[in-house]
């Protein structure tokens, strides 16, 4: 069995009489330590899929296995523990706590986990050595996203899930962020899943999952992934 397995997952939203199918018989597999990119147009179901994987949403049909465990069977309390201990999430719009400094934001995430990394070290690693005592309103977009990534990585999670991490950033900063994610995947051997609608970065991934209309339209395996430095768009 693969590390992550999505099996015929359905997610339907019921709005009165109208049924909206966000995911329709979605299935794919991901191995441990892979850097995966999920591509697809807007409304294809990419974020829904990542939310389910991150334990922030429930399915209306199908099964999801992570490291051998069926997370669709988890109740609220189990999901909370799953999210706390196993998942690091990077959001498109950072979602940092505005009245805590960068260091305190990372400390906040870290105080929930038993097996975590040192917040200061991680912030140094992402290149924010001089900005650890600044509040999010005093940081630029790229720096804020780096704090968010530091927050996710410091938890030492099994899965690092990134929902359009470079969506709000410019080309150069975006590339820096992607480089950081690539390093985490390759050096720390963490399973990293990145959602994007920028097809140009596909070559950096080990596996590319293409979404269309709520289901997987294509899975491409990259035997020789390129480094982000070599990719231009």
């Amino acid at each position: 069995m693969a590390y992550i397995e999505f099996k015929n997952v359905n997610k339907t939203y019921q709005m009165g009489e109208i049924e909206i199918k966000a995911l329709n018989k979605t299935s794919f597999e991901i191995e441990k330590g892979e850097l995966v990119v999920i591509l697809g147009p807007s409304g294809a179901g990419k974020t829904t899929c990542l939310n389910i994987l991150g334990g922030m949403d429930t399915v209306t049909g199908g099964k999801v296995f992570v490291d051998g465990k069926d997370i669709t069977k988890y109740k609220d309390k189990d999901l909370i523990l799953y999210r706390r201990n196993n998942i690091g999430f990077v959001f498109q719009f950072y979602n940092l706590v505005q009245n805590l400094t960068a260091l305190e934001n990372v400390e906040l995430a870290v105080q929930l986990c038993k097996d975590h990394l040192d917040p200061k070290t991680i912030l140094n690693k992402v290149g924010l050595k001089n900005r650890i005592d600044n509040f999010p309103s005093q940081l630029s977009g790229g720096e804020q996203q780096r704090v968010a990534i530091a927050r996710a990585i410091a938890k030492n999670p099994k899965l690092l899930l990134c929902d359009e991490p470079t969506g709000a950033l410019d080309y150069k900063t975006g590339k820096q962020i992607l480089k950081l994610l690539e390093e985490t995947a390759r050096k720390e051997k963490m399973t990293v899943i990145i959602i994007t609608h920028n097809a140009a970065i596909a070559p950096m991934a080990d596996k590319i999952i293409k979404f269309k209309n709520g289901s997987v339209s294509d899975v491409v395996i990259n035997k020789k992934p390129k480094s982000i430095d070599e990719i231009e768009w």
Binding site: N99, L100, E104, L108, Q111
Partner: protein
């Protein structure tokens, strides 16, 4: 490691402290109002219970057209649920207060049951003295030391009485309010205007006009609660049983007395 959830919490309060304070005050007011309203009824019940317990207020009052003899009192006392029985005397009279005549209920002073509070002056020490309620003094321009007299009634040893004090009785707890009612009578206008206390000895009677009963275990319970009512109902049932015996027995004893009085 410091708890960062607390840090963000305190900083948020500090940064908008005035707003936090006003929300706090509003919540306190809301809670205060709710607590006040919830406590009003239990508070009232407890107040009356304490007052009645302190003045040893009765649980059951017995009245009879023929009055109660010492024997009757003993019989009632023998009942299981009865703690104590007290015989008491009272009579409605016309009292001349100088300027006008009022209907006054005269009650015999008893130190043990329905205990009164002397609010000024002293207790009556002999048959020539009387303590009255405040309203009688105020509305008739009298004061302690004034004299009043009982009109046309030979049921008393002394009819010219000196007011020596003012009294508050638990039998008339809302006497101070303007809408209070002291009961009806067949004298004067039919309404009792005031109450007053005289020594038991001043009554020219050899029987009691009413009997006050306290029920075993009732003082410890909360007045008017379900438990209290159950106990008193029990006592009432026992008293009802002996009531039926009296209907026949005592008539024979009293008839000679009735004839002499008329």
């Amino acid at each position: 490691m410091k708890n960062r959830i607390n840090t963000t919490c305190f900083r948020e309060i500090k940064s908008s402290f005035k707003r936090f304070l006003s929300l706090l005050v509003m919540s306190m007011l809301g809670v205060g109002v709710f607590v006040g309203i919830s406590m009003a009824a239990p508070s009232m019940m407890k107040s009356i219970d304490e007052y009645y317990d302190d003045s040893n207020y009765y649980d059951v009052k017995l009245i009879s057209t023929l009055g109660f003899s010492d024997e009757n009192i003993e019989d009632i006392k023998k009942l299981d649920s009865v703690k104590e029985v007290y015989g008491s005397n009272s009579k409605d009279v016309l009292l001349n207060t100088g300027e006008n005549e009022s209907v006054v209920k005269l009650i015999g002073l008893n130190e043990d049951i329905n205990m009164v509070e002397i609010t000024s002056g002293t207790k009556p020490k002999n048959n020539g003295e009387i303590v009255v309620e405040e309203a009688l003094l105020k509305k008739n321009n009298l004061k302690i030391g004034s004299y009043v007299s009982i009109v046309n009634d030979d049921g008393f040893k002394k009819t010219k009485l000196k007011i020596v004090g003012t009294v508050k009785s638990p039998l008339y707890i809302n006497a101070a309010s303007s809408s209070s009612d002291r009961g009806n009578t067949n004298l004067g206008t039919g309404k009792i205007n005031y109450y007053a206390y005289i020594p038991n000895d001043n009554f020219n009677l050899d029987y009691y006009t009413e009997a006050y009963v306290t029920v075993k275990g009732a003082k410890e319970k909360l007045t008017n609660s379900e438990n209290y009512n159950k106990l008193v109902d029990n006592a009432l049932n026992e008293i009802e049983d002996i009531k039926n015996d009296y209907k026949n027995k005592d008539i024979m004893k009293f008839i000679p007395k009735l004839i002499t009085r008329f």
